[in-house]
């Protein structure tokens, strides 16, 4: 399936994927993340159940210290 990930078009195997698996596939290993799918914040406790489908617009923000 095709999705948009951080403004880039990406092709990912399969027809759907949980957020948890997307993070594994893309090797996002950071602990502190903010994830939005189609404009909606995904709560951490929903990463294992919330699924990504064809055409979804996914934004992942990786939080680091400094300010």
């Amino acid at each position: 399936m095709k999705i948009t990930l951080n403004n880039n078009s990406e092709t990912i195997e399969g027809n759907s994927l949980t957020i948890e698996n997307l993070l594994k596939v893309k090797n996002f290993t950071f602990k502190m993340l903010i994830i939005k799918v189609n404009g909606k914040l995904i709560q951490k406790e929903d990463y294992s159940t919330s699924t990504i489908r064809e055409g979804d617009d996914v934004s992942v923000l990786h939080l680091i210290s400094g300010g």
């Binding site: 939005k36 914040l41 709560q43 210290s65 300010g67």
Partner: protein
């Protein structure tokens, strides 16, 4: 717009600033200079000597709460800005009440955990409110890596990769660049709102 017209719009606006360290203090000073009507600032820390390499405080303010020192500095530049300076630790419980009425909120925390908490709360409770996040500004040089990224009503300023560490400290130029980028986006949003 003339500067007089700009001031007229901005004096009706309220901007929240969560954190008064390198990002928050410099962003607040820029917003004060252009004449934002009301600034709501919160931080729990006191000024220390090690802050002076990037934060908008003075040597004779060491030991003072940052919120008191920042209010003093803002008013030395622009006495017409109303400053609500809260010397408190921001938590899940007090963030909604403190910043719920702001036109725009600037995320200016230091630690990643705090950034995550604030962004999570704001995107859950106030997804329409513009939120300006500072992310990745440690070190020096690397100017071309600094950018802004818009995710719905959230604007991320920084390089998103340079995390502070022993050998990559936060220092004045890059922290100041990102703080002023945040202030610049605040203005862009507020002047569009009219």
């Amino acid at each position: 717009m003339t500067f007089e017209e700009i001031k007229k719009v901005l004096q009706e606006k309220t901007v929240g600033i969560a954190g008064a360290g390198g990002l928050g203090s410099n962003c607040a000073m820029a917003l004060a200079r252009v004449g934002i009507g009301k600034l709501i600032i919160a931080d729990f820390d006191v000024v220390s000597e090690s802050n002076l390499n990037r934060q908008y405080y003075f040597y004779d303010q060491i030991g003072k709460p940052k919120t008191d020192a920042l209010k003093e500095n803002i008013q030395r530049i622009n006495a017409s800005v109303t400053v609500f300076a809260h010397n408190i630790c921001l938590t899940r419980d007090n963030i909604p009440a403190l910043f719920g009425d702001c036109d725009v909120l600037v995320e200016a925390f230091d630690r990643a955990e705090q950034k995550e908490m604030l962004i999570g709360i704001m995107l859950t409770l106030f997804p329409e409110k513009p939120l300006i996040v500072g992310l990745g500004m440690a070190g020096w040089g690397m100017f071309e890596t600094i950018h802004t990224r818009k995710i719905d009503n959230m604007y991320v300023c920084g390089d998103e990769v340079s995390e502070i560490s022993q050998n990559l400290p936060p220092i004045a130029p890059r922290v100041g660049i990102v703080a002023n980028m945040q202030a610049n986006i605040v203005l862009e949003i507020l002047l569009k709102q009219k």
